[in-house]
Point group: C2
Chain length 477, copies 2
């Protein structure tokens, strides 16, 4: 393992235990926690480690210190909304074109002054801009001819080496030659779909599903079968088996870790079963694993690719969710479809800009990535809890919500009669952008749902925006 | 006009006249030219302007100075090989798959130590690397969040403004909102073809034709009709008219200025007639104009787009042939297909990396591009003449060759029984790479042709490589 997360630090162990007690309501809101000295005695740790554990919990918004008094629980999981249930998509015809909605919400994502809960990329204030910039300048100096010449079609060699090395983290064993770099993860998914399908084919996806995949699939004439999806564990192999019996499915697409938008993380056994099943049927799996590095637990979840022995999994990822969406650096390990994917890249754009890839490679190589991830995970975990509490407080009591263990996306289900596309338009009047649920299906579903990103710095402005959103939703009642 | 080429400088006028006399053999090899003083008297110019005219011609390899004696003609156009004739492609089946050949020649273009006559991009030694690097660093500093965030789908605003401004040079009148930036010109062509065709459609192209377009067209299931093409003027509207009568053509693709590989430049009247004809038939024209800035004459040729009043021309270009192929910066003005092209870009890769676009925009804005182009044109013009002379000297007498007035590509036709794919393999033994003619058609044609790029610094090594290539060709006789 490289740059292994220092998850075995004592303070993390102890704060993890306390967090669990808060979440299971053993410790309730308002409860006083042991004094720092007491904690240090109980666990045979130094006072400073005990303090560190409390600071960590405070940073996440789970506890608070009161002057002259000590630490108190401030988080109440019962105030979190109920969890969403397993989706059961029907295949009815959609009344409003999904592309129209996506177009309106997404085609311009650079207008200023909008609180952008709609965009599933990290805001600049939580990114290591100065270090990235330094890495870019170094890359420009280091590259042959300063990056002005074509690089290999397969992509920057340093980056492919680092991605291969890093694959150990999720149980992979990739070689640099297994990997093709792409212009971000969407570009990787696009090449994979083009490599393994032809117009008129059917693919099976989770539901709700990342709209980028939906609209790309439509643009190349694919039919899309949306599968029932559990908000904790994702798609059940039994449901896939049924679908394979009834439909001529040419490929599956799943975001296996902290999926967009449901936030589920498929358990290891389920991943393994899924890989085995699809392999038996000769149906390739496009695995979108671009949130996998942003876990809130103790270690990175595995990927389906790590169980793939036959090259049947096309594993896609990028640094768009962790470092720099604008760099457009992604990659794919396409298994036995390597040649086709490489050719598609060559046909569509010859090569990729090399400087950004070189800069990211050096980030991965030197430990700067792991260093940044540790901080990012903590920020996002804390954000997720703050968002959940705020939504519990500001939104109407009847709503349901996802409970992601990583990533930075929440899925919220409102009362059935509320149309979140309408809500989106109202919210935009107040410079608040949300992603309406209808974007995440080709069928008439999720009109009462919305996706919220918490990939930003928590500020009073964000708090106010959530409160305003709650107000707008309550107006429907 | 911006940064207008100082083509009205007196020394250029005079050297241009002398060049014409050499080319028309009024002045023959070995002829003594007037002394500098005499030239200055004849034309009522200063001695230094007269000297400048001779330096200019010397730089091009057309004349030479002999110590204590003066200037002499050293170029003989009669030693240039005969010109290739108009292509008459038949539509017979090809025996060897074009993709196999392309794959072998092109899939790896980074092996070191090869004299790369095969690659139609400028070598780093004739590019302004230091200035580009500086522009990149500045761009990273100037961009919001240092270029880490998504930019507008349509592309960097500064770059689109500069491309629009620059369009005046070729008779265009584009607005920034008419333009979508892309990952190089091939990427622009790819989006255009996807926007206006569907699998099974037929497109008409010049012949021989840029292989990138051929293989992309095949990859999306298009049929390709190859049209007769004149090496000086390109495709004749009458031939297009005939093709439109006999085939259901959905789009045309032409490289109108200094085409790749024939090198023709379509005359203005022909461009205008072509645009009118295709507009009447409602058949869109994809115009690839990426060599247009590298003209050897007095001004930039116009584009078909400049005659387009109905948005029927999708004009594609890039800086890959003039500044930095590795930056992957290109663009397209897709006329009435703007929305479709923009959506395709969004679907395939969301946005482009922004730093390279910003750097190129500043190059265009500040006159550094025009400054570089002046030098580049002179280098390439001189190279073209040196290559033509060397080929005339080293290659067998029977060969034919193109006579480009811009760009950096020569098309050479050898004796009918010579297979240039075989020649390619032999040349590679000597670390010389050429592009075999068979790559430029889907049919059994051009097996005895090859494409040579002269986009590099002329060196003894280049001279030796051409001599060796000549030897290998003579071995076939």
């Amino acid at each position: 393992m490289i740059n292994k997360d220092k998850g075995d630090h004592k303070y993390l162990l102890i704060s993890g235990n306390i967090e669990q007690q808060i979440m299971s309501r053993v410790l309730k809101i308002g409860d006083k926690l042991p004094s720092v000295r007491m904690l240090s005695d109980q666990h045979e740790i130094s006072v400073s480690t005990a303090l560190q554990a409390y600071y960590h919990l405070e940073g996440k918004g789970l506890i608070e210190s009161r002057p002259q008094s000590g630490y108190y629980v401030r988080f109440d999981p019962s105030r979190s909304p109920r969890k969403v249930e397993k989706s059961m998509p029907h295949q009815e015809i959609k009344t409003k074109e999904v592309e129209t909605i996506i177009g309106e919400v997404y085609d311009d994502f650079v207008s200023p002054d909008v609180v952008r809960f709609s965009l599933s990329v990290p805001a600049p204030e939580i990114l290591p801009l100065a270090r990235l910039n330094k890495a870019m300048m170094q890359a420009l100096r280091d590259l042959p001819a300063n990056g002005t010449q074509y690089e290999q079609v397969q992509g920057n060699g340093l980056l492919r080496r680092q991605v291969a090395r890093w694959s150990l983290e999720w149980g992979g064993h990739l070689q640099p030659d297994d990997i093709v770099t792409t212009a971000g993860c969407m570009n990787a998914i696009a090449y994979c779909l083009m490599a393994i399908t032809k117009p008129g084919d059917t693919i099976a996806v989770e539901s709700p599903v990342y709209f980028g995949t939906l609209r790309f699939a439509r643009s190349i004439g694919l039919n899309v079968l949306e599968l029932p999806t559990d908000p904790d564990t994702g798609v059940d192999p039994d449901d896939v088996k049924r679908a394979l019996r009834n439909h001529n499915i040419k490929a599956c697409f799943f975001v296996t870790n902290f999926s967009n938008p449901l936030g589920y993380c498929m358990p290891d056994e389920q991943k393994e079963a899924m890989v085995r099943l699809l392999s038996q049927h000769g149906v390739p799996l496009i695995e979108d694993d671009l949130y996998g590095d942003v876990y809130f637990g103790r270690s990175r979840p595995r990927s389906c690719k790590s169980f793939d022995e036959e090259g049947n999994v096309l594993w896609c990822s990028s640094i768009s969710k962790t470092l720099a969406p604008g760099y457009r650096v992604g990659w794919v390990a396409p298994g036995k479809y390597l040649k086709q994917v490489k050719h598609l890249k060559l046909y569509h754009s010859i090569t990729s800009p090399t400087a950004q890839q070189e800069a990211i490679a050096s980030f991965l190589a030197t430990g700067r990535y792991e260093h940044h991830l540790r901080k990012l995970r903590q920020t996002l975990h804390a954000n997720s809890l703050r968002f959940i509490q705020a939504i519990g407080e500001y939104f109407p009591p009847g709503i349901k919500m996802s409970d992601p263990k990583g990533g930075f996306i929440l899925w919220v289900e409102l009362d059935k009669h509320i149309d979140t596309y309408q809500l989106y338009r109202e919210a935009m009047q107040h410079k608040i952008s949300i992603a309406p649920g209808a974007m995440f299906s080709l069928h008439d579903r999720y009109q009462n749902c919305l996706r919220l990103s918490y990939g930003m710095q928590w500020t009073p402005q964000v708090d106010r925006a959530l409160r305003k959103l709650g107000e707008l939703i309550r107006n429907y009642e």
